[in-house]
Symmetry: C2
Subunit: 179 residues, 2 copies
Amino acid sequence: MKDLREKTLSSKRVYEGRILNLRVDQVLLPNGKESGREVVEFSEAVTIVAVTEDKKVLLVTQYRYPVSEVLLEAPAGKMDPRENPVACARRELQEETGYTAGSLEKICEFYTTPGFTNELMHVFLARDLTPGEQSPDEDEFVQVEAVPLQDAIAMIYNGKIRDGKTIAGLLAAYNMLKE
Amino acid sequence: MKDLREKTLSSKRVYEGRILNLRVDQVLLPNGKESGREVVEFSEAVTIVAVTEDKKVLLVTQYRYPVSEVLLEAPAGKMDPRENPVACARRELQEETGYTAGSLEKICEFYTTPGFTNELMHVFLARDLTPGEQSPDEDEFVQVEAVPLQDAIAMIYNGKIRDGKTIAGLLAAYNMLKE
């Protein structure tokens, strides 16, 4: 296989922010030419597909400012510094839904959009759930609902679920649980 | 349902670039407090799950600079200004794989990561494929392979496919084709 890598020639941090940084690099392409690369630096994150005994999945309704829409999503969140994915999944599930999971199983992981950011998403299947009190972040407003897994899958195809990590996570869990 | 929307108080474009812009807004939260929101403005895009007569899926190998890895992905790309999703899907499939599709069917759409960008991904199932010549962009280096769909699904779970849109698209197509 040809070497497809691109070599960094220079790198400039153009923005440092609250949840992300932006870097603009100059790179050497495999054909010897140069090009610019814009990179959004973001922390790793987790998504939790939490499935109840009666095959319902816990979803949260949340306003997403960048898209100006209220979306129905799987519980998710950024990993804190030095937090591991499992600990983050337990924390986010509890904060956003109130539930704690007796069983937490890694399903898969993926880059959300590797063309312009390094955000890495770890996806977990949570089962053996015990309800409790939500404790969302101060500036987080989420409403929880339990949707039959089969209905949630249909909502991917009819456009009612329109969040990438939720679609990937729901289908990956559904496919796994069927086997 | 409570009103979860956030109202824009001020908006500042902090970066205008080649493939993305960055905006930092000040917003009013549902609880009356203020917060900052960082928004990466990105164009809409398409992903094509192209399945051959013998149930193989066309995947492309591509170096992704933001994650410093060579990834195996479904063909995909940004919509040009005034281009519609179907036209973009036809163009990107041809450019990246050389194939043209007799049948192109929308499967679903999703925001890739609505917490910080407005990128909207349209996912298509392409069938009735005719091979031809690749014509990638000048700074795009992709290698095509045809992978049995069943094997591609297994690669999601064993970590060999680690791209979000590819995982969502493959599973959505797989689930649809089985029914």
